[in-house]
């Protein structure tokens, strides 16, 4: 088989140089031989080993960094799945109002709704997955009955007038660029936000202007409304931009306009849903105390009585509101879709908008509302109209005209995805899905913990047995296998932990079992490799060549078999659901680790060892003794006679050079 081996040989291995290299080998047999040839031979493998070390250090360094500085801090152990950590598994079937099963689109929306509820409901670290036609929610710990109830109630979309709006979150504190007096009032914060945005984005002004123009166009022709989009941090500035566009006041004017209304509105008749008289001291207090970053706000808001004003947060939790009573519910919305914004004459502006259609009665109500809100100045909070889905304000546009035809448009700086998303929320919020709980199962953590504990114990015993077996089979070479397995185990632990933090990957029982099985498959890589080396030694090849050629062949086998495993893992991951997905992920992960360890640890290490005296000369118990492997070295018998190695490798015409010159270099 030598003839077919394409392995490039280094100079020193060529026949003429054989003797010399052999001697040199022996001379500098020590571990740290400074000989030039030696170090050349070692440098490659050493470099590979070093890079693996770097990878490992990076992995665990990443965990450490995430532990120390990240928010939330990473845990030093893998995240555990529901079956191990305990918790409640709820499977819900989304149903439309008529009791039909939800369509695929609606299902996506339903998952979205549930996910938002879970996130907003204070249920930390819950997992929402699609399970066929159903939605599966896994909540760690022991959720209260209320929380479970909140998850399964039907989706509510309602429209409420905005009474007070105030940005929250980090943006509110950012700008300090201009020296301004800083009275500790809410309005001040608003102002700062405004300034930041004005300074930060000149385009914001232009956008505001163009929207304004569009409004006049639409206003003259039809009842369509152009309002400003207000998602994300751009909301407030754009509102204010609108103010500027119409009134062109300076910054101080804004200050005035924002502070003035509360005083004026004190006298407004309380029957007006936009009246600020509705703001009781309690409500004000609640508003001041409202922390949009806290959990459970949406749930609370969603259960607030619809006829009374309430406080609420935006979806992004970057603005908080005091909202008037519900004036219109989602059932009045007949359709909502996203499309490119057009001005009169059908020219596409390149921006996106959401078109909202109301039914007859809803359109009428909406006309009344808009005419009232339009009465407020642009830029005032009361000019805005909040759309609340499940207790969160998904959008709160300003009203730029009286809309009497039952069709409204919401425009702003949308990406197509954003507008589509908003349209979906409006449409499906309008078509309330209810959720029927199919399975609600409390999984005891003690049970899972017990299983995990025994599973880990079993894994460790299994690992020890594997170690013992490798030692018996491969002697000193078995130590390399053990080392490789330990490295693989370290890498697996590190990646599972890091992924638990970064991707919320959770280790389930299936995953643990997958990892334990991976011991076998990973060890197999070493076995394949070692057996190939042994085969080469049996064929009479000197050990150093045996390692090289054995690796060439083993590598092919390892790559193709691991590639197939990776295909299996990715196909299962992409196409299947829940438990199977987690398993597929574990399989893929261990396969990658297997490849990594064999290429970057086992092979370099064996190459280095093959250059040491102990392994390279096939000493006793090294696991590579040519005699034990049946390779007879040729021996000089004296008087010009040579005893030839008697085994000719199959298919070989005559003895190879290596066989004749001896089993070892």
């Amino acid at each position: 088989m030598t003839t077919s081996t394409p392995a490039p040989r280094r100079d020193e291995d060529l026949p003429g140089a054989g003797e010399g290299s052999g001697r040199r080998q022996r001379r500098s047999g020590g571990r740290r031989g400074p000989g030039g040839q030696r170090s050349a031979r070692m440098r490659g493998p050493l470099r590979t080993l070093l890079s693996l070390l770097v990878v490992t250090v990076l992995l665990f360094g990443g965990i450490g960094v995430a532990r120390l500085w990240a928010e939330p801090a990473a845990s030093l152990t893998p995240q555990l799945g529901l079956d191990l950590a305990g918790g409640r598994q709820i499977v819900m079937a989304p149903l439309t109002e008529e009791g039909d099963a939800a369509s695929a689109d609606q299902l996506e929306q339903a998952i979205d709704i549930i996910r938002r509820r879970v996130d907003g409901g204070g249920v930390a670290e819950a997992e929402v997955t699609r399970m066929g036609q159903n939605v599966s929610v896994a909540i760690p710990g022991n959720p209260t009955a209320d929380q479970v109830e909140a998850l399964s109630r039907s989706s509510q979309l309602s429209f409420r007038p905005v009474l007070v709006a105030q940005p929250t979150g980090p943006q509110a504190e950012l700008p300090e660029q201009r020296t301004l007096p800083l009275p500790p009032s809410l309005i001040q914060e608003q102002l700062e936000e405004l300034e930041q945005q004005q300074e930060g984005s000149g385009t914001g002004d232009e956008t505001g202007d163009s929207v304004e123009e569009g409004t006049t166009d639409d206003g003259t022709t039809d009842e369509a409304e152009q309002t400003e989009e207000n998602r994300g941090g751009t909301r407030l500035p754009m509102t204010e931009d609108g103010t500027e566009a119409t009134q062109a006041p300076g910054v101080p004017a804004d200050d005035d306009s924002s502070t003035a209304p509360p005083a004026e509105e004190e006298t407004a008749p309380p029957a007006d849903p936009s009246s600020l008289a509705q703001i009781t001291p309690e409500l004000q207090e609640e508003f001041t105390a409202l922390d949009c970053a806290a959990d459970g706000v949406a749930t609370e808001v969603a259960s607030a009585p619809s006829a009374e004003p309430t406080v609420a947060c935006s979806v992004e939790a970057d603005e908080k509101f005091i909202l008037g009573p519900v004036e219109l519910t989602g059932s009045s919305v007949t359709d909502a879709n996203a499309g490119p914004e057009t001005v009169q004459g059908g020219t596409v502006t390149g921006r996106w908008q959401v078109n909202l259609t109301f039914d007859g009665e809803g359109g009428q109500t909406f006309a009344e509302i808009t005419s009232r809100l339009y009465g407020y100045q642009q830029g005032e909070a009361q000019n805005r109209f909040a759309t609340v889905l499940d207790g969160e304000v998904i959008t709160a546009p300003t009203v730029n005209g009286v809309i009497s035809g039952g069709t409204a448009t919401i425009s702003g700086d949308f990406t197509p995805e954003e507008s589509q998303n908003l349209a979906n929320q409006l449409k499906f919020g309008a078509l309330p899905l209810s959720f029927e709980v199919q399975t609600s199962e409390q999984i005891s953590p003690t049970l899972g913990g017990e299983q995990l504990r025994y599973g880990v114990i079993a894994g460790i015993i299994g690992l020890l047995l594997v170690f013992a077996y490798m030692l018996v089979q491969y002697h000193a070479l078995g130590l390399v296998a053990i080392g490789s397995l330990v490295v693989a185990a370290l890498l697996a632990y590190g990646s599972v932990t890091l992924l638990g933090w970064a991707n919320n990957f959770r280790l389930t029982m299936a995953g643990v079992t997958g990892l334990i099985v991976a011991i076998g498959i990973t060890a197999d890589s070493f076995i394949v490799y070692f057996e190939r080396i042994r085969d080469e030694v049996r064929a009479g090849r000197p050990l150093r060549y045996a390692v090289d050629t054995g690796w060439e062949r083993a590598r092919r086998t390892l790559i193709i078999s691991d590639v197939v495993n990776l295909i299996a893992a990715s196909v299962l991951y992409l196409l299947s659901e829940s438990g199977v997905k987690a398993f597929a992920f574990a399989l893929g992960l261990t396969t990658v680790i297997d490849l990594l360890v064999v290429f970057m640890f086992t092979h370099p290490l064996v190459s280095i060892l093959a250059n040491t005296r102990y392994f390279g000369e096939g000493k006793k118990w090294s696991g590579m003794e040519p005699e034990r492997l049946g390779a007879k070295r040729s021996a000089y018998l004296g008087r010009g006679r040579v005893r030839e190695p008697d085994v000719i490798a199959p298919g070989r015409r005559r003895h190879t050079r290596e066989e004749l010159e001896g089993g070892v270099v």
């Binding site: 498959i521 197939v564 299996a568 196909v571 298919g651």
Partner: protein, 407 residues
């Protein structure tokens, strides 16, 4: 131990060789019997699907005191029997103080009755007994999706293997082995009445991965050996494949031992300490699957591959060439032996030398290492009184002198 490594040496060199490919009818029959048994299990007994597949009611009695735990299976079974005589009921202890009863779907009234009765039986409050309905969500959706994924996977793997091995027959043989493994494992499940839970489905998928992995490792060696045989024309396809199986035999044994050891430990720990659950379900699937996976890649996949490929025109030509070559050589060998017996006819020294060379070749292809020694011996000593080449007869006098090795 050293016996095992000697076995490895012998298998590698061909000093000992199990004729696995040649005896393929036997292996086919054996696996046909295995499959038949598992089919009997599958269709006779049917799979014991867990509650996740069939749907049903689940009652949990919590806060059961240790003294009440005695004989819980029988007692809970009786209670349920009274309420719902049909349907299979599984009763398991979960943790220290909880009894889980899974049964067919109970109407609301029955479920209430069962709750009250169970609470009575185990001396707990009715509130401590929860009843819940488990929808057949797994059976309907997850398994279905997993099957779709499986089909895609198999198609992809067939493609990859076809490209890698340059023949679709290897892919087919690997897939047959794969199906054989999964079918057998599922059949054992049915026969032993092990509950099929979502975890066991995942176990089946693992087997699938392992089986194909193992088969590929063996096939890669087969590919290597057969390519070599095509080049040298010294072995028929079947022989080369058989030698490959023999040469990877030690690897296969080692690998399966290493893979089975952890699983076996889980199984033992699971059965003795934990009781039924995900862990044991998975371990069963894996244990059976890995064992049968190793078996099938050696005894089913390779013989099947030879079976499939032997009919190819190219392989038939190759095999015929090998046979012809061997016959020619045998004849020459026989002739040479006769000549040797006839004790040296003068004048055919040239032939003699050729004969010796060919003899060595023949022994190599036969795979018998021991006879090669004789060849060497013949060449080295001139004891037989055979005629030598005139060049050799001239003796050492005219040969270049060797320096004495005085060291």
């Amino acid at each position: 131990m050293s016996r095992f490594s000697r076995l490895g040496n012998d298998l590698y060199s061909g000093a000992r060789s199990y004729n696995i490919v040649g005896r393929r009818t036997f292996w086919y029959l054996l696996s046909a019997v295995l499959i038949a048994v598992s089919l009997v299990g599958l269709f006779g007994r049917g799979l014991n699907f867990g509650i996740e597949f069939s749907g049903g009611s689940e009652l949990r009695v919590s806060q059961v005191s240790a003294t009440q735990m005695e004989d819980y299976e029988q007692r809970a079974g009786d209670v349920i029997e009274a309420v719902n005589p049909e349907g299979t009921t599984t009763i398991t202890q979960i943790g220290d103080d909880t009894v889980r009863v899974q049964t067919g779907q109970l109407p609301n009234a029955d479920a209430e009755a069962a709750r009250a009765d169970l609470a009575d039986e185990f001396g707990v409050d009715t509130e401590d007994v929860t009843s819940s309905f488990v929808g057949p969500s797994w059976g309907e959706t997850v398994t279905q999706r997993a099957l779709i994924a499986l089909a895609v996977f198999l198609a992809l793997v067939t493609l990859v293997l076809t490209f890698y091995f340059h023949t679709w027959k290897m892919a087919v043989a690997a897939l047959v082995a794969l199906i054989h493994d999964v079918l057998f494992t599922v059949g054992i499940y049915a026969l032993l009445g092990i509950e099929v839970s979502p975890a066991s489905v995942i176990g089946f998928l693992t087997i699938l991965g392992y089986s194909i992995y193992d088969t590929i490792v063996v096939f890669d060696k087969v590919r290597e050996n057969t390519e070599h045989a095509f080049d040298t024309k010294r072995q028929t396809y079947g022989e080369a494949a058989n030698q490959a199986v023999n040469q990877t035999f030690v690897r296969s044994v080692n690998t399966s031992v290493v893979a089975l050891l952890p699983v076996a430990v889980i199984l033992v720990v699971g059965i003795s300490l934990i009781g039924p659950g995900t862990l044991v379900d998975l371990a069963w699937a894996l244990f059976i699957g890995i064992a049968v996976g190793t078996f099938s890649s050696i005894f089913i996949a390779t013989p099947l591959l030879v079976h499939l490929r032997e009919r190819e025109l190219f392989i038939r030509k190759h095999d015929a060439q090998v046979t012809r070559r061997r016959a020619r050589h045998d004849a020459r060998e026989a002739a040479r032996d006769q000549e040797a017996d006839a004790d040296g006819m003068p004048g055919d020294g040239e032939d003699e030398l050729v004969g010796v060379g060919a003899g060595q070749d023949g022994e190599t292809s036969g795979g018998a290492g021991a006879t090669a020694d004789t060849g060497g011996g013949l060449r080295g000593g001139q004891t037989q009184g055979r005629q030598l080449h005139p060049y050799a007869q001239r003796g050492p006098r005219n040969q270049p002198k060797r320096k004495k090795r005085g060291r």
